[in-house]
Symmetry: C2
Subunit: 282 residues, 2 copies
């Protein structure tokens, strides 16, 4: 039976170090504060917001949520977002994306202060992640994948990894984090020929394409470590990942559930990034 | 016998379009100008400088070379480099790197105007290349690889590529350019286990690790397309690539010579980037 890599267990493993760092920063007279910027009220944004509040409460940290109307104009959005970034009492800024309407993602990426960019959207942090520089902020999801593997003792050194999906919030930055950890990384996508063969030949498979059931029995071996980053709504109305869990889990070495895997760790990585950001601003 | 992919042939193929674009820009009253910034007088910098002058002369374009003393201090360097960038008559800036002494590469990357950054060193352009956005400037060497493959009719769509080497001037940006062209890219390096098997299973192998003889007969098949980005000084005092050309060339489908392959096309890509930069500044 495969080892189940659970986000909650890894999050519990991070808690002590987070509380110690929080106490150390408070000892310098700083109260780390996260600002969440939400435009409108999309269901998945609200769900993520609840998750953040719960995690941060559990750590005794404050979250400020700034809600902007869904029909806000570009100029007003830019001004509000610049104001949040400029607030000296705010150490980290998380903007829920994709932005609704025609709002410019590029503007937001340009406006965000790289030192407060706890979800790694600024070009400065993207370039650092691309270059393998440890001081950059990576987006929280790839950060959570790295932390989950670390918690479960999966070394990346010299391992082969197939990353399916090339988004800028998951696949691409994760490939670079894994490369920095000396994995040999293959970036796969919808145009990849024979994805199943590529996955079978890899030690670790990361499914991050946003397509339910993309990774099935044909993509795995008994040595496979399977990480599922996907969050999709299944036909039965339940959340599911990109991996056909029922089919793959009996066949592999280690696997993450959805929900309860990578997603359950994202908010802990967000908290860690906020503490790093607060340190940078001392 | 393998097809030899020659940089000079691809450069000749680019010349007409470059001259047409140059004429179009001149028609707008702009004289595109490249500024080359060299610190000290390293042999390989001088060789590249001669190559640039020759190519630009052949196109009827001017090059201005700014030479700074090898022992220049950081503040003086930053000031000079900012001055070059600020000159409204300069449309593109190429800084020879690595910088000598303790001069900060990060400072230079921060100072360069992203619109004049014809060798893709600015974080803004790195992030664009990372994200697969066509408007970014990639470094000239990976740009030359893409152009060489295009000239010789090697499609990347759906192909598997092994890139050996993960530098920020070759391997990493090239992997992203190839990913944007829908190749399935595996990033390999010194920690990769069984590099030869990874290379043999790929349609295209790019050697960009800076290690002479790294790719030999064990890494190729009769279908292999081999691109050699390496420039090393061989034991015999002659330039050689990362590929053992004598060993590999009889066995493969297509291959680049060194010298005369990718390196011979770099200055044409630099000229194209300069013209793109000049367009952006009209």
């Amino acid at each position: 039976m495969a080892v189940l890599m659970k986000g909650a267990e890894a999050a519990a493993g991070m808690k002590e170090a987070l509380l110690a760092e929080l106490a150390a920063i408070r000892g310098r007279g700083i109260e780390p504060k996260l600002a969440v910027v939400r435009v409108g009220a999309r269901d998945d944004d609200l769900a993520y917001e609840r998750g953040i509040r719960k995690r941060f409460e559990g750590l005794g940290m404050a979250v400020r949520v700034i809600v902007l109307p869904e029909d806000i104009g570009q100029d007003a959005f830019d001004a509000e977002f610049a104001w949040v970034n400029g607030d000296p009492q705010t150490h980290g800024v998380l903007l829920f994306r994709p932005l609704p309407g025609g709002l410019s993602d590029a503007n937001a990426r340009r406006i965000i202060d790289p030192r407060k960019d706890v979800d790694g959207m600024s070009p400065i942090n993207m370039a650092r992640v691309f270059a393998g520089e440890a001081e950059g902020f990576a987006p929280c999801t790839p950060g959570a994948v790295m932390e989950l593997l670390r918690h479960y003792g999966v070394s990346l050194e010299g391992k082969s990894v197939a990353v399916a999906g090339r988004s800028m919030v998951a696949g691409r930055p994760l490939a670079m984090l894994m490369l920095a950890a000396n994995a040999t990384v293959t970036l796969c996508h919808t145009r990849t020929r024979d994805l199943s063969a590529v996955c079978r030949s890899a030690d670790i498979v990361v499914a991050a394409a946003g397509r339910a059931g993309m990774i099935g029995a044909d993509c795995v071996t008994e040595r496979s470590v399977i990480v599922d980053v996907g969050i999709n709504m299944g036909r039965d109305g339940k959340l599911c990942g990109d991996v056909d869990f029922g089919e793959a889990s009996p066949l592999v070495s280690m696997i993450t559930p959805v929900p309860g895997g990578v997603g359950a760790l994202t908010t802990s990585v967000l908290a860690r990034n906020l503490l790093r950001a607060a340190r940078l601003q001392i």
